[in-house]
């Protein structure tokens, strides 16, 4: 009988404390009934017979799991909402981190591009871990509540309110929206940050753009604001419509024009960028900056072409 006691104790160890006594008691009664029935057939039981019965019952962990099935951390019905919230919050945290790191980068004289990217990645990782833990804990707490009937949006709905069936590309992913938002926010911070800098900060900062380039960028900043508005609109709609595609084409063509105008205007870089002296010639840097801008212009141009094709298919 020692084997039975050991088996029951092993099952109890896998159970929540509140259920250990009751399930252990019931399990013992059931096992003893089986052993009695076996003893009626075979006479006195040896340890090997008890072992066979217990093996047939299953591993203590499996038996415990059958009595008290493990609960998922987050209820299955909350999973889509959980994933959506996670992406949204991580997207917002990324935007905030872009602003924070860009401000530090612009106000620091010795922060290079690699350090900027490292700082952005590590800062975002810190925030993301915290955000992930908070959201998961929140949903875990919600999942501990007793289940309710389906919420209003799942019961009060009309088929005619559903969006028209369309191709897969019509759905706008949250990641794409937040990537755009991060880009536009970064641009705005880079363009307008010097306005808030004191003279000393401006002196010590590693700001490398020429006054003329900076002035042009200021003129183009409404485009970045418009980009943020369009992205927020996309976040609300989440589905490409005819109007949204038209708006996006116009915005992207304007961005192409602005970037190419910037590339054609010279000089792009400030002439007194001491930190590059002895490493690169200013002329080479100018040419590289111009080529970079032309390459950058290709992205909105590609998006405009893509949206034009989509518009024709709609």
């Amino acid at each position: 009988m020692d084997l039975v006691q050991r088996y029951i104790a092993a099952v109890q160890r896998e159970l929540p404390e509140s259920k250990q006594q009751e399930i252990g008691r019931e399990l013992q009664a059931n096992i003893m009934d089986q052993l009695d029935a076996l003893a009626e057939q075979k006479g006195e039981l040896a340890d090997i017979d008890i072992v066979a019965v217990l093996k047939h019952m299953g591993h203590p962990r499996v038996v415990a799991r059958q009595f008290v099935p493990p609960q998922p951390l987050i209820r299955l019905s909350y999973m889509p909402l959980y994933q959506n919230t996670l992406f949204m919050v991580l997207g917002i945290l990324f935007l905030l981190q872009v602003v924070q790191t860009t401000v530090s980068w612009l106000s620091s004289a010795d922060m290079g591009l690699v350090r900027y990217l490292f700082s952005l990645a590590s800062g975002f990782l810190d925030d993301a871990i915290f955000g992930f833990a908070c959201i998961t804990l929140g949903f875990w707490a919600m999942s501990r509540q007793p289940p309710t009937q389906s919420d209003a949006c799942e019961t009060d709905w009309q088929p005619e309110h559903l969006p028209k069936a369309g191709p897969g590309w019509q759905h706008i992913s949250v990641q794409d929206i937040f990537t755009d938002l991060a880009t536009y926010t970064f641009l705005l911070v880079v363009i307008w940050y010097p306005v808030w800098m004191s003279a000393d900060q401006a002196e010590s900062s590693g700001f490398v753009l020429s006054d003329q380039t900076h002035l042009l960028l200021k003129w183009f900043s409404p485009l970045a604001v418009l980009g943020i508005v369009v992205s927020l609109w996309q976040l609300r709609q989440r589905l490409w419509s005819h109007r949204m595609l038209m708006g996006n084409i116009a915005l992207n063509l304007a961005l192409v024009a602005a970037t190419l105008t910037l590339a054609a205007s010279g000089p792009l870089l400030s002439a007194d960028i001491d930190q590059w002296q002895g490493v690169f010639e200013l002329v080479d840097l100018e040419r590289s900056a111009m080529l970079t801008l032309i390459i950058i212009a290709m992205f909105p141009l590609w998006e405009a072409g893509r949206d034009l094709l989509r518009l024709r298919k709609m």
Partner: protein, 115 residues
């Protein structure tokens, strides 16, 4: 179809039916082992790992009443259909009979077609 697929589908098919079988058997009071024996005698094989947790779950849902009793020098937990369980059993029986009739006609048709 592989044996694993067949086993999985058989398990799914039996899962709902087992509840009905257990509820129907517990019109009379039974303890775990005696219930299993009765189901076996009626041709329903069910292992302990499935049956005992299932009875507990049904009891927790208020479908079964339970009571510890002393018998043959040992205590046993006896289960019996509660009032709520009896109502549910009656509804499930109707549902099962309708399903069974519909399925019999479907399966009969399928058997004739395959012949």
């Amino acid at each position: 179809m592989t044996t694993a697929q067949l086993d999985k589908m058989r398990l799914e098919l039996r899962r709902g039916v087992l509840v009905l079988a257990v509820l129907a058997s517990l019109k009379q009071p039974h303890y775990g082992y005696s219930l299993r024996r009765q189901l076996q005698e009626r041709g329903i094989e069910i292992d302990e790992g499935t049956l005992y947790p299932l009875i507990r779950r049904l009891a927790e849902q208020g479908l079964l009443d339970s009571e510890w009793q002393q018998g043959e020098g040992r205590e046993r937990r006896y289960y019996q259909l509660s009032e709520l369980g009896a109502d549910l059993l009656s509804q499930l029986t109707d549902e099962w009979q309708q399903l069974n009739a519909a399925l019999s006609s479907l399966l009969g048709g399928a058997t004739q077609e395959s012949n």
